[in-house]
Symmetry: C2
Subunit: 382 residues, 2 copies
């Protein structure tokens, strides 16, 4: 499958240089060489998080990072407001319950973003709420939530605002300090363009006050201990040398290029996908589409599970389908990672060809020309 194209919302395609770095001989994590890498990563991560607070690199998937945010701030029986608009919102709410939180579920229809006024009103009526949970981008529906507006409301209360930005951080601006987010988590296999294996978290000053008083039992994800180790230039447990070494390259590469330009590239892929999909009769599922991932509604005549399978087996184009009740109804195309524009173009041709095999009658030459035009327009007009 070496010529396949991976366009999922994580894991993503790796930069050729990252592939090289992942294959380098092992070095020990208690060496000056690694100390420099760790120091550089932790320093540059702050720039992605837009924070002056320490950022931590944990050996876990994104879910482990979500657990870290929660168990360092949540106490048993605390009231938690969970904004749920898809699978990952549901997961975080369940997690909060597992750790003894009294969870108030605010269900938002899948594909829609939360209305900040609803949250304001819930917080006004429930001043006991200690923590609010929300996804920056709900990956299962490719929907972004108004994190800045929510932060403004929540920061006026005593509640902490914990944000799962696993499919957002590094893909579009999330201004932790400026917006007043209290806990933020990203994942290595998303916009950090690395393999699955690490999560990155940070906490606000307001959160640190709660962390110091927190009574939840924890060890692996104990952030006070991790902080103490980081201050000594070490990670708390064995360092994830392979991923951190590649992260160092990715962060330097992104920052050298400029965050704005990096975000624009990802956004351009989303814009391209939206335009060309529309020509293929595929409409946007989300009413608040993220730039990190796009969910497209398939025509009702098409069995989406079979369609995705055919894309993979016959055309070596790997995209994701819908989850839970969206199974078979949508396709999700990720825009993060290393995606040259010629691969975007190729993906379109594959998609169009398979649609034609499924009863449609698109003029493939016309689609090819449109795709070329869009790429030219979108990727060169900055």
């Amino acid at each position: 499958m070496s010529n396949s194209i991976l366009l999922t919302p994580g894991p993503v395609q790796l930069h050729p240089e990252v592939e090289k770095i992942l294959g380098l001989p092992m070095i020990h994590h208690r060496t000056p060489q690694f100390d420099e890498i760790l120091n550089s990563c932790l320093k540059n991560l702050k720039k992605i998080f837009c924070t002056t607070q320490p950022v931590f690199a944990l050996t876990s998937t994104g879910t482990g990072g979500m657990e870290c945010l929660l168990i360092n701030t949540l106490n048993k029986d605390d009231q938690v407001l969970a904004i749920i608009s898809g699978k990952f919102g549901e997961r975080w709410a369940t997690m909060a319950e597992s750790f003894g939180g009294q969870v108030l579920r605010h269900n938002v229809p899948w594909g829609e973003s939360v209305n900040p006024k609803d949250i304001e009103s819930i917080l006004n009526k429930n001043p006991e709420i200690k923590i609010v949970l929300c996804q920056a981008c709900e990956t299962s529906t490719a929907t972004s939530h108004p994190i800045e507006e929510l932060s403004k409301i929540i920061s006026k209360t005593s509640a902490l605002f914990l944000v799962d930005a696993i499919t957002a951080l590094g893909a579009y601006p999330i201004m932790m300090d400026e917006w007043k987010i209290d806990g933020l988590v990203g994942g290595s296999q998303k916009a950090f363009m690395l393999p699955t294996g690490m999560s990155f978290v940070s906490f606000s000053e307001k959160a640190w006050v709660q962390i110091k008083k927190n009574k939840n039992t924890k060890f692996y994800f104990n952030i006070e201990n991790e902080y103490a180790a980081n201050k000594k230039g070490e990670t708390l447990f064995s360092s994830n040398v392979t991923i951190l070494r590649a992260l160092d390259f990715v962060l330097k590469d992104i920052l050298k290029k400029g965050l704005d330009k990096h975000f624009q590239e990802i956004k351009n892929r989303a814009l391209y996908t939206q335009r060309i999909s529309s020509d293929l009769g595929l409409t946007l599922y989300s009413k608040s589409p993220s730039t990190s991932v796009t969910a497209l509604k398939l025509p009702t005549t098409i069995d989406g599970v079979k369609f995705r399978d055919q894309l993979e087996k016959k055309y070596s184009l790997i995209v994701m389908g819908g989850q839970d009740h969206l199974k078979g109804q949508i396709l999700r195309l990720g825009h993060m990672g290393y995606i040259p524009t010629n691969q975007l173009h190729e993906s379109t041709l594959k998609l169009a060809a398979l649609l034609n095999e499924n009863g449609f009658n698109f003029n493939l030459e016309a689609i090819e020309n449109k795709s070329k035009d869009y790429i030219k327009e979108i990727f060169t007009c900055q």
Copy 2:
């Protein structure tokens, strides 16, 4: 540092093929291609664990795996007997306390192995003990504990025997089912010859009875949920594609060669290290030396911290020193990972040369010849 030699007890040197696999293009974890890899890994891990029970592959360091063993079996206020003979025994005891265990610490002098009779007597006097914790190999002192004998004693009681075999599993025989170990954990960066990033755990039937009744709060390391996901051919959270793909190669490679032969190779490195070190006036620190790692006492005239530093900077030989009160007193040389015999030989020459620079007067030619002889004798007499 491409010509450096890494002889630490983890992370270890990688097989050239593993380096290649780590650098392969990313694939998605929800694909038939990855399903096959995961299935193969989970099946072959059982052979290393010597168990018919399911083995789980978690995205965490070894400490995360230790936490997984504990939080799935420990209930608040449970009595725990912790066998402590070094830094990692101490860590596990502290962890058990963090999760509400009433920990009885059985301190064994560093460098010595526990006397099973002492444990028998403690268990007889304390029938309330629910869990016994022990390292198979205490990495900080390079000391192996009599896990088989301990298992025989503990399996007659109602207590569960949880074994941290992070520096043992895959390096020498640990027969989970036959010996009746109730919880067992290994780590990717040790005898599995991979980067840091995954831990592998398994539980006995006796442990599963307790797991089902367990009331401890948990989410990321909830093994019942992981088991349910594995039964569907998936991991509970995003799969660690990069490490699992390399693990699949390593396990197949080890099993093709034969576990006995693989264990013998590691043991041979320990035997070689013991013999040549003795010629260099370096004596064994441990009274029960492990075959996975050797701790050598440095002459008292030598500042061990400086010596290790010189080995690294001047000779590009990376070994570990002592921890806590052993700092500056010992060197620890790991025997796991990809270590061609010529590198063992080279390491000896580097060590001898640096000893001479520090006031000793070894005949380097004689050492070179002895080293060659030992390698010939030890590695060819099987």
